[in-house]
């Protein structure tokens, strides 16, 4: 009973909480001068994508940030190294968090509603590009998680690492237009958090630009770089005492 109750309550609470996010966006939009170059309906679409994306990442990888530090500190990370798969794959598969399923559901409903509300006629190439950016976004997110795990392995005890990670991710919660100068450059190219929400929404709104290509390349490069760093670090893994 305890698991069923936890699942039902977890999905219900995340679904309910997620539904309030478009309301918050409405309040921000109506009480401020809004976001430059974004109508309210477009901002709702952005919020829907934010929900949908957060739901996917939290469901697939939500537990990793908590569990990796614990595993390294207690030495139970050793157990992953005696399984016949790359240790990083084993870590990534251990991040599943079923409670966030409600957020995916809320995000998907909001996404369909927003598209219909905007009267967008979605072309096949948009669907293709949208899913392509979902995959690229996931690869980029995984790269950051691998770097996070590499740092955990090196530093062992760093409580604030998760907060830094979350702050970095939170930059993606706003459209590029609110950032200026160097920040925008970082947002779109250097650490292209735009691949998660901003670019997929731009694709649905028929607003393609060259930064999408750069971000795609940077994401793939970062994945390789993070794997190289991870493999270097794993050679120096010291385990914990008995």
């Amino acid at each position: 009973m305890e698991f069923r109750a936890d699942f039902i309550l977890g999905v219900f609470s995340t679904f309910t909480f997620s539904c309030t996010i478009p309301l918050v966006q409405f309040l921000i939009y109506t009480r401020t001068s809004g976001y430059p170059d974004w109508s309210f309906a477009q901002i709702l679409l952005f919020s829907a994508m934010l929900l949908f994306w957060s739901g996917i990442t939290e469901t697939a990888f939500g537990e990793i940030k908590y569990s990796i530090q614990d595993k390294v500190k207690t030495g139970s990370f050793d157990r992953l190294l005696v399984l016949p798969y790359p240790a990083i794959i084993m870590i990534l598969t251990k991040g599943f968090n079923y409670r966030s399923f409600g957020t995916i559901l809320a995000g998907a409903i909001a996404l369909v509603y927003s598209i219909l509300n905007l009267g967008i006629v979605v072309q096949w190439w948009q669907i293709l590009l949208f899913f392509c950016f979902l995959v690229i976004g996931l690869l980029f997110y995984i790269s950051l998680l691998i770097l996070y795990c590499t740092l955990c392995l090196a530093i062992v005890n760093m409580m604030r690492l998760k907060d830094i990670f979350d702050k970095l991710v939170s930059f993606s919660f706003y459209p590029a237009e609110i950032f200026g100068g160097v920040f925008k450059f970082f947002y779109l190219i250097i650490i292209p958090v735009a691949v998660w929400i901003y670019f997929p929404v731009q694709i649905l709104l028929h607003r393609l630009d060259i930064y999408m290509l750069y971000a795609m390349l940077i994401s793939i490069l970062l994945l390789f770089l993070s794997l190289v760093l991870w493999n270097l670090r794993i050679k120096k893994y010291t385990s914990a005492g008995g």
């Binding site: 030495g75 050793d78 005696v82 399984l83 893994y237 010291t238 385990s239 008995g242």
Partner: protein, 326 residues
């Protein structure tokens, strides 16, 4: 016979932070300036293990046993030395290699706490790609030895330590490993559970030809289980031979225990240098190499009201303690 484990000149050093003083100021100073030193956990380890052995790896805490196990199982990279286990270099070909070994860390569970052990077994079936028939046969074989048919269906958090350890063993051996590393497998178990685990290891070793490397502090385990013993101290192997040959290191000192039919006065006991346990029993240590051994025993039997006598040689525990301390 070709050894399945062959280790030559193995060394592992760790870089550790040195804190010279205790307290808050020393902690703050450590933020700005840290001193490090290298400690050698194991050095010049040479070891060969043959197929079908049950090998004990023993030594005091911090001797380097777990470091050896972790290198042999591919968890740690060594600083120096060569290792071949089942024709693999563990840390280089780790993913292929671990399919053929089993590792049980007595203090690090592989079972999912909230789920029945049966679900973890099913997950291992997928992870190790165990064919359905082989999985069912292995599970049934081990479940019947341990008699845990009902236990494996309860959530792991509801199991006792002994029950959980039995499930850990099943999990470790499901994929039919040829070599199994057991790092303190009976830690915290009661005598009945310890005995169950030992019987299980013996049976699997005999019936399936599985080689076991066991680290333990329990000397009964060594006596009841292992053919070969490797003693490690300060990161070096100080004994590496059969349990039988360990007795070569024993002295000729015998402990003679006597039980008397009536109380023996303290003055009389002192005459024979008897250490009295109570007025009705006492013990004395006699060197059997000494020519007077027979004479001393005869004198005790004639002069004292001896009802019962037992003569004990040095036990394994004493011998091992002696080897480690020297």
């Amino acid at each position: 016979m070709n050894p399945i484990i062959s280790v030559q000149g193995l060394r592992k050093t760790f870089k550790v932070h040195v804190r010279e003083n205790e307290g808050l100021l020393a902690s703050l100073a450590g933020v700005f300036h840290r001193k490090f030193k290298y400690i050698t956990a194991i050095d010049d380890i040479n070891l060969e293990v043959n197929k079908n052995e049950i090998r004990a790896l023993i030594g005091p805490n911090g001797a380097g046993k777990s470091t050896i196990i972790k290198i042999l199982s591919g968890v740690l990279y060594p600083t120096k030395g060569t290792v071949k286990v089942l024709d693999y270099v563990p840390w280089k070909e780790r993913e292929e290699y671990v399919k053929r070994i089993g590792v049980l860390f007595g203090q690090k569970t592989q079972l999912t706490w909230e789920l029945p052990a049966l679900d973890t077994f099913a997950m291992h079936k997928i992870i190790y790609k165990i064919p359905n028939l082989q999985y069912k046969e292995n599970l049934s074989y081990m479940v019947s030895i341990f008699n845990i048919r009902d236990i494996i269906q309860k959530p792991v958090r509801n199991l006792s330590l002994g029950e959980r350890m039995k499930c850990e063993f099943v999990c470790t051996l499901l994929h039919e490993p040829e070599l199994v590393f057991l790092d303190e497998p009976t830690i915290g178990l009661d005598i009945i559970s310890k005995d169950n685990v030992r019987q299980f290891i013996k049976r699997v070793n005999k019936e399936r030809g599985v080689t076991f490397i066991v680290t333990t502090h329990d000397l009964n385990e060594i006596k009841n289980l292992c053919d070969m013993v490797t003693i490690v101290n300060h990161g070096e192997i100080i004994y590496n031979d059969s349990l039988e040959n360990l007795k070569v290191h024993s002295t000729y000192e015998k402990t003679v225990e006597l039980r008397f039919s009536k109380p023996v006065p303290a003055a009389e006991a002192n005459t024979y240098k008897l250490e009295m346990i109570n007025p009705f029993s006492g013990k004395i240590k006699i060197d059997a190499k000494n020519n007077n051994f027979q004479k001393k025993i005869s004198a005790l039997l004639i002069e004292l009201p001896v009802q019962d006598i037992s003569i004990q040689t040095e036990d394994i525990e004493t011998i091992i303690r002696k080897i480690i301390s020297t």
